[in-house]
């Protein structure tokens, strides 16, 4: 590193060399520099920082272009045509914005969007509430808290396919543990209701499963936030005789808020494109009660083979998620910088 470093960076390293972590980094960089073959280092010496930077990110950019950007551009192109992937010999004609109009005026699409909104709202709300509460409790550092943290994390380590399958068994009206427990608590007959077969209950059934699986993830993020709050702030609050309640509202919550917002962003994006688990649990049924946008998209694209139409739908979803995520990130930055 010292061989190739710019004068500016050397100055930075020298100025901060008294700190322990920087010394460690220095040593690592030095070792890396020494390990660089002489032939390569002499070749690199002639390159500018910008050129070296491009050299490093070039392969990644190339892969991104090939597997992300090109398909995106291709999808945009297809969305203006009547192309169907199952009719390779059919004429492909330009249909202008017809596919976009058709998507936006299709009542089935709006039903799927409503289902997605219901799923998103309730999963995120429940996961944030339960996740934060669990993190708050785990942060108390009680006896065996390490064990319980690990136990709580287990659901998020499972594959969504596994989760979908075993919750389908748990929800089984005759032998399922969920129905049995609900019957025990409420007194109603276990086989008198079907979580996955009822139009009213099925949307809640998928919310419960997603909450069960991903609350630990939210808990981890919140826990990181809670542990990042320096103790001296609470000590100062204690000195000022602030109540626990006041400490929570004035210190804990505001300081954890960027972490919570980050968790909302991650879960929001993930659940907007939720497919596997719901597909295994209900296949979008009963009827279309749990047909989320991604399931509709898959049906249009790979079951009905309306490639042009589904490309338009995919682009609309992409723009919606991308736009919302951007606005959200701006809000997140605002909260962080307060």
């Amino acid at each position: 590193m010292l061989t190739h470093a710019t004068p500016g960076s050397q100055a930075f390293l020298c100025n901060t060399a008294n700190t322990k972590p920087i010394m460690t980094i220095n040593r690592t960089l030095e070792r890396a520099a020494l390990a660089t073959p002489a032939a390569m280092s002499s070749r690199l010496r002639g390159l500018s920082d910008r050129a070296i930077a491009w050299l490093f990110i070039g392969p990644t950019m190339l892969i991104l272009l090939v597997i992300n950007i090109f398909p995106l551009i291709w999808t945009i192109k297809l969305s203006f045509t009547n192309y169907r992937a199952n009719r390779p010999n059919a004429n492909v004609t330009d249909v202008g914005i017809d596919n976009y109009v058709a998507v936006l005026t299709d009542p089935d699409i709006w039903l799927a969007m409503q289902n997605t909104a219901h799923f998103l709202f309730w999963t995120i709300l429940l996961q944030m509430l339960i996740g934060f509460t669990l993190a708050y409790l785990i942060d108390r550092k009680f006896r065996g808290h390490g064990f319980w943290t690990t136990m709580i994390l287990i659901p998020m380590m499972l594959s969504p396919a596994v989760v979908g399958n075993f919750w389908a068994f748990l929800y089984q009206p005759q032998v399922g543990l969920f129905n049995y427990s609900a019957a025990l608590l409420s007194g109603v007959s276990a086989s008198s209701f079907s979580m996955l077969g009822s139009v009213t209950l099925a949307p809640w059934a998928i919310v419960i499963v997603d909450t069960w699986m991903w609350t630990p993830y939210v808990m981890l993020i919140c826990l990181a936030g809670l542990r990042s709050i320096p103790d001296y702030i609470y000590e100062a609050a204690e000195v000022d005789r602030a109540s626990k309640w006041r400490q929570f509202w004035s210190i804990t919550l505001p300081m954890v808020m960027p972490f919570i917002m980050l968790a909302v962003l991650f879960r929001g994006i993930e659940n907007f494109k939720m497919f596997d688990m719901v597909n295994l649990l209900t296949s979008g049924g009963p009827g279309s009660a749990t047909e989320l946008a991604s399931i509709t998209l898959k049906r249009e694209a790979f079951e009905k083979w309306r490639t042009g139409y589904s490309s338009a739908f995919a682009i609309i979803l992409f723009v919606a998620v991308f736009g919302m995520a951007n606005m959200y990130v701006k809000a997140l930055n605002y909260v962080k910088n307060r």
Partner: protein
Amino acid sequence: MKTLLKKLLALAGISLATALCLGAAPAQAQDKTITLCWAAWDPANALVELSKDFTAKSGVKMKFEFVPWPNFADRMLNELNSKGKLCDLMIGDSQWIGGSAESGHYVKLNDFFAKEGIKMTDFAPATVTGYAEWPKNTPNYWALPAMADAVGWTYRKDWFAKPELRAEFKKKFNRGLAAPKTWTEFKQVSEFFQGRVVDGKKVYGAYIYTERGSEGITMGVTNVLYPMGFKYQDPKKPYAMDGFVNSADAVKALEFYKSIYKGSTAPGMTNAYMGEGLDAFKSGQVAMQMNFFAFFPGLNKDPVVGGDKIGFFANPSDKGKGVQLGGQGISVVAYSPNQKEALQYIKWFADPAIQKKWQAVGGASAHNAVLNDPGYAESAPYAPAFMESMNMVVDFWAEPSYAELLQAMQKRVHDYVIADKGTAKEALDALVVDWKKIFKEDGKLK
């Protein structure tokens, strides 16, 4: 002497060359491997066994790509649409034939059949129309009927034989407790068993298809729709569906299917297809089970519910007869680099002797040599019901747009039957609108 030596050398040379040539031919064939793609189920395993004979005779090795039924269409149609070379032979579903023929996925077999002396008249007519022809009822063949199948019914013969149940049923309905022949009888029997305790266990009347994702509920409901008078189109005017798809009879049939679902099935059967049906029957949960005949050899041998405990019957009738066609034909994939070997396999498979073996190992031949055999009806307890069914099969649309047509029906029927959305009339009216839209996009309707 020199001349003799030259002659001997020349002879040795020729012998060596001949030996090398002869040796090379099987060696080359042994290097060839072809892949057969199908669904993952019992008959596919039987075909693996049967195909060993082909490898032994031809030297061509066989590979198999089997996909579970719920993903079969998705996976294989993707493969065909992307012009993939994975499959040399495809045992594709009957409804794929139109799309696969028009998109050039399958090799047209007319010339090959003519050259090899394979006659379609040697196969059951319903299977030729259902699995091989496109356009339907024209002599254009894209497959050889491979697996004859239809929806049928199993029932618990031991439960039906219980004297106390027979007496109670007789008293209630003034007739003997037996496998139902009409849908009215079916409903009486299924409701009779619903919620009853048999052998100390609560049981249910019937298992019927309700699956939403792929094709399940359509493959189920059509077994009531067909005999009750539903038609896909005006027989005199193709693609004219008003008054046929949504006729008063069709509405009544859809309501009837819902009444069976509501009143005669086990709780939670809201998204169930073939596998769930087998589970329900094998676990002794239901008195009668709807499923494809292809599963019946396995069920008949089942140690718990097979043998003397199981009975079989053909789909009940109403004002008419009809049952959903299952089964598949075997096609050569147009993108295969091994078409020669794939055709060789079809030639081998069409042989009547192989068809008999196919039937014997657990397949279901559509060849007349098997079906018209005097001993066929007694060959298995389900054989009479199967023969009866094959004479009344009806298939879903086999148009190139079949997937869209199917998804529309899945949605409308599931919405009404399972999700209680709207009325039967509204569901079928909406289905006509959906189907008209699809045919208009295809240019088949103005």
